[in-house]
């Protein structure tokens, strides 16, 4: 089966610009996650969807970050305006049921963002 797809793979922008990332999860996976991984650290969950509803967005900086999963399949994550500290790898993951408990998360290749 196809894995989690993400695009673009790399993006370089200047601060205060906007950027969007796209993710297509594994077919049939109801739960989709966006993580931010800063260099030298583990991934940090930004937002979790189950189908097209938000389960957890407690660590999403809502003043500049937004995410949607309108049809319960693919998702977009947007940053507007970007700051230097947003430079990171943005990882998308999916799993087959709604709870992180008991379920394996499958990760995409990530989008590397550099904000200048």
């Amino acid at each position: 089966e196809a894995g989690v797809a993400q695009s673009p793979r790399y993006k370089i922008i200047e601060k205060r610009q906007s950027v969007a990332f796209w993710c297509n999860p594994i077919s049939g996976h109801a739960t989709l996650y966006w993580y931010q991984q800063i260099l030298g650290q583990g991934p940090k969950l930004l937002i979790q969807f189950q189908n097209n509803g938000v389960v957890d967005d407690s660590q999403l900086p809502k003043d500049r970050f937004s995410a949607e999963r309108l049809k319960g399949v693919d998702s977009t994550l947007k940053i507007q305006p970007a700051k230097l500290e947003d430079s990171a790898v943005y990882l998308c993951a999916s799993s087959s049921i709604g709870r992180a408990s008991r379920e394996t998360q499958y990760f995409g290749p990530g989008t590397r963002l550099l904000v200048l």
């Binding site: 996650y33 030298g40 650290q41 583990g42 991934p43 940090k44 969950l45 979790q48 389960v55 957890d56 790898v89 990882l91 993951a93 709604g98 709870r99 992180a100 408990s101 008991r102 379920e103 394996t104 998360q105 499958y106 990760f107 290749p109 990530g110 590397r112």
Partner: protein, 112 residues
């Protein structure tokens, strides 16, 4: 929130050597997973192991939930084992809104 500590932070091995990677966590969990992030950044799930022992080829993992630690064993290491190994946990008390909290990772370099 739950704290996840991994040790050692860095590990250099000669090909063929064995190693043990450790993950300590500060609260009870109902989900613990080990991941390998290869040098190109791809995260691959190795084990789902909230308790007990599992083996997959040269890799095995043991979680002692009552003592709040997990160990990942790599035997006969190969250069392709290089990368960063993450432990990620889900605290039991989060219920339906559970989410994985990752440690900082262990960077493994296997020299030929």
């Amino acid at each position: 929130g739950i704290q996840v500590e991994q040790s050692p932070p860095d590990l250099i091995l000669q090909e063929g050597a064995n190693s043990t990677l450790r993950c300590n966590f500060s609260d009870s969990v109902n989900n613990l997973q080990w991941f390998h992030q290869n040098p190109w950044g791809q995260l691959i799930n190795l084990f789902y192991i909230p308790s007990g022992t599992k083996q997959n080829g040269r890799l095995s993992a043991t979680t002692v939930a009552t003592e709040r630690y997990s160990l990942l064993y790599i035997s006969s290491s190969q250069t392709t084992d290089s990368g960063v190994y993450f432990c990620a946990v889900d605290p039991s008390w989060r219920g339906a809104n559970s989410k994985l909290t990752f440690g900082k990772g262990i960077t493994l370099s296997v020299r030929p």
